[in-house]
């Protein structure tokens, strides 16, 4: 990475060219070179000026082609094997040209000396261009491989070597013109070879290949070094048409070809031996690499996937792969029961048996860190008649021999186990155990996360449910109190966070009568809200049909029988007021008593009666009484639900009846709206901000007629 950046920065700094610009330059110089050689064919090759000009043009064309090809190869730097394979194909082509095409050309043009032939020149130029591109490609491949996975920037070494390559190649041209200087060429060539050998040692990228890739590379590198070796031989043989044509075109190019072939031969020999030495550690390296990438995958999954099952599958999958186990499964313990999840490569029943045998023999709770268990040892030693039952015997007829068990720990609490099993007797080594431990930790966090998520979803669902229940309740309750002559009416309703099931209502009945009801449905939330709705319906209709409150309640109990479940009940006070006379008839079904305040004295009106839904036999009607009250001026009737006396403070004390009675008496003279406000205020002061846990309903009547 660093290298690539360094390279790019360097290239950009020097030239600032885009890849199309590079291609443009490469094409331009190639065309100039092509035309130049076409116009001045090789018979002027002994003129130093033209030769130099030609070589400079060649060098420039080569340079730009290399720049372009280099970009192209850099893109594939993450798969060095494919780069090598491509280079192999190219060099096989060179081999083909050198060994097969050359004799054909030799036959066509006869032995050398046919220099003046235009066709010959054209063929020579084309071949030379082919080799320029091929060498540029080879050079780029070597350069890319050289820089691959290098931590420090080694460009100095490579640039030096490149310098010598150019020098050696140009020395080839010089010695072509002046044969006496060929020793100089040889010296430069040898130095280049030495540098190649030194630089070939930089093959650290091999270590990062997987074992399979290393095997593959081992074979390729043999083939490549042999191929390059043969190509050295072929390109050095002077009587081949191609080498002759190349030398005539440019001695430097020919020299460079030999250098590149040597580079390939040396480099791939080194690669072969390096890979060979990497082979023994290849597997361990693979496993480490896999472990690291598995952990990375897992942590990515954890942040994206909240489904416990999916994570469990991944965990057991990875455990099997990394720890070389034949099967793996997760055990999650809930309420003392062991549940198996993501069971891999083993029958569920078999895994279950192994788990339960393990749990019986060792007690899973005792396993607090990764532990390996040999299944042979789990075999019951003596067959006691009870234990000899096939259950444990069958479990151990399994093919699996060795287990590794790791607890799933979160905050020191174990909520499951990750188990890996092997069929062979190879024990799980330290590394295996460490990885199993690591995966178990992930699984533990995943389980915890899944649990928390489920809880928060449940909470959200409940809150939605509560909203619905509250809405039902508000629709059911009357929106205003009735206007009645001789009577003030006040109603106050304060809902709890969780809908409590309070209900009150007024019914205008025929003959100047007013029906009123206050009720409390047992339970909370939507179920309570539904019953409330039903109770409203029942009273709406019964109040108009039946005159006597007692009979209304008896009938209501019968009707509710079909809809109340066993554990639900409804407490009610139902009464009827004769507006003209001030007579009140009322019955109570399990509800808090009605309070009658008369001249600063509170009297509990508490006719007998059990709650609706408690009993559906004659017990119910037998228990029910009806009371009559004759109201006098300024008499107050107060109906409430148990939310008031059962309001609690931080010490969990009840508000209680005494406090309620005291507030009522203290405010008996006040307007009734004020009385209910004062009561609520007292309750609020008492509970000191502790959330109200049940609905509070308060209905107050005050008789204002003198009689």
């Amino acid at each position: 990475m660093q290298n690539k950046i360094a390279d790019n920065v360097l290239v950009k700094k020097l030239f600032g060219w885009s890849s199309t610009r590079k291609l443009q330059n490469a094409m331009t110089f190639s065309v100039i070179l092509f035309l130049f050689r076409l116009v001045f064919p090789d018979n002027l090759s002994f003129n130093p000026l033209f030769v130099s000009l030609s070589e400079v043009l060649l060098l420039l064309a080569f340079y730009f082609i290399t720049l372009y090809v280099l970009d192209f190869i850099q893109e594939k730097k993450h798969s060095p094997l494919s780069i090598i394979l491509n280079a192999g194909i190219l060099n096989a082509l060179i081999f083909f040209i050198l060994s097969v095409i050359s004799p054909v050309f030799n036959d066509i043009f006869g032995r050398a000396g046919n220099n003046g032939n235009f066709l010959y020149s054209l063929a020579a130029i084309f071949l030379s261009f082919l080799f320029i591109v091929a060498m540029a490609y080879n050079f780029s491949v070597f350069r890319t491989l050289f820089f691959l996975k290098q931590k420090r920037n080694p460009s100095f070494y490579f640039n030096t070597m490149t310098g010598f390559f150019i020098a050696a190649s140009l020395a080839g041209t010089i010695s072509f013109l002046h044969v006496e200087l060929s020793d100089f060429k040889t010296a430069l060539f040898i130095v280049s070879l030495l540098l190649i050998t030194l630089n070939s040692i930089r093959t650290s990228w091999i270590a990062f290949l997987t074992k399979k890739e290393k095997m593959y590379l081992l074979i390729i590198s043999v083939v490549m070094s042999i191929l390059f070796g043969i190509n050295i031989g072929l390109s050095n043989s002077g009587n081949l048409f191609v080498t002759q044509a190349l030398t005539q075109f440019s001695p430097a190019l020919h020299e460079f070809l030999v250098l590149m072939m040597s580079y390939g031969c040396i480099y791939f020999s080194v690669v072969f031996f390096t890979t060979l030495f990497h082979m023994p550690t290849a597997e361990a390296f693979d496993r480490k690499a896999q472990e690291v990438s598995s952990l990375m995958d897992l942590s990515r999954l954890m942040t994206q996937v909240f489904d416990f099952k999916e994570l469990a599958e991944t965990v057991t999958d990875i455990t099997m792969k990394v720890c070389n186990s034949d099967s793996a499964w997760l055990v999650s313990g809930e309420n003392g029961e062991l549940n198996l999840n993501a069971v891999k490569n083993i029958g569920y029943i078999e895994a279950d048996k192994i788990t339960s045998t393990l749990s019986k023999k060792y007690g899973l709770k005792n396993i607090t860190s990764v532990k390996t268990v040999s299944l042979d040892k789990l075999k019951p030693s003596g067959l006691s008649p009870l234990q000899g039952e096939t259950a444990s015997g069958e479990a151990l007829s399994t093919d699996f021999r060795i287990l590794a068990v790791s607890p799933l720990k979160v905050h020191d609490e174990i909520n499951g186990y990750l188990i890996a099993a092997r069929k062979s007797e190879d024990p799980f080594d330290d590394d295996d155990q460490k990885s199993i431990g690591a995966f178990a930790d992930y699984a533990a966090v995943a389980i915890e996360q899944a649990k928390l998520l489920a809880e928060s979803l449940e909470k959200e669902r409940m809150e939605k449910e509560l909203d619905v229940a509250r809405e039902i309740q508000y629709k059911i309750l009357p929106d205003k109190t009735p206007e009645v002559e001789n009577m003030q009416v006040s109603a106050l309703f304060v809902p709890a966070f969780e809908v409590g099931g309070d209900y009150y209502d007024f019914f205008r009945l025929g003959g100047d009568r007013l029906g009123f009801v206050i009720a409390d449905v047992s339970g909370k939330g939507i179920p309570a809200a539904f019953i409330m709705a039903e109770v409203k319906g029942i009273f709406e209709s019964l109040a108009r049909l039946i005159e006597s409150p007692r009979e209304v309640l008896v009938k209501a109990n019968e009707v509710l029988r079909s809809s109340l479940d066993k554990k639900s009940f409804v407490t009610v006070v139902y009464g009827v007021l004769e507006v003209k006379t001030g007579r009140v008839f009322l019955s109570r079904a399990g509800h808090s008593p009605v309070l009658l305040v008369r001249r600063d004295v509170i009297e509990e009106v508490k006719p007998c009666g059990m709650g609706l839904g408690l009993d559906f036999s004659s017990n119910f009607s037998n228990s029910l009484e009806e009371t009559e009250i004759k109201l006098k001026e300024n008499d107050i009737l107060l109906l409430y639900t148990d939310g008031i006396p059962e309001s609690k403070n931080a010490e969990m004390e009840d508000f209680g009846y005494e406090r309620l009675n005291k507030v009522i008496l203290d405010n008996a003279g006040a307007p009734i709206d004020l009385i209910s406000k004062r009561i609520m205020k007292e309750v609020a002061v008492f509970s000191q901000g502790k959330p109200q846990h049940d609905d509070i309903t308060l209905v107050i009547f005050k008789w204002t007629k003198q009689n």
Binding site: S522, K567, F569, G609, M610, N619
Partner: protein, 117 residues
């Protein structure tokens, strides 16, 4: 929240259920589980000891209503004992004393069972 817990024990062939703390809509399922288990185990004679119960809500009361029928059908019953006046008042308002037997003392309730059989 405030704690609630239940424990069951046997007192001369009668199953005593001890209630502690606060029995409300949230903790009632715990008591339901206990009763379900008693029925599964065919233990139908039950005395519920209220000595350590601090509070009971309507949902808590409902639990007894849900199971008493099964107990009675199987020659058993749910009887209540050791109730504080405050808790008894709640049961009383509702009319429970008309349907259930209440005893001051657990021993008395257990005896009552054994007298019958």
């Amino acid at each position: 929240m405030v704690d609630f817990n239940v424990e069951t024990r046997e007192n001369s062939h009668v199953n005593v259920v001890n209630l502690h703390g606060y029995l409300d809509a949230h903790t009632a399922p715990e008591l339901e589980d206990v009763f379900t288990k008693l029925i599964d185990d065919k233990k139908f004679k039950v005395v519920v000891n209220f000595e350590d119960l601090a509070y009971i809500s309507s949902a808590g009361l409902g639990v007894f209503m849900a199971y008493v029928e099964t107990m009675r059908e199987n020659e058993g019953d749910i009887k209540f004992s050791n109730m504080s006046p405050k808790i008894y008042n709640i049961f009383d308002l509702l009319g429970f004393p008309l349907l259930y037997e209440f005893y001051k003392d657990e021993k008395e309730a257990v005896q009552k069972f054994n007298e019958k059989s």
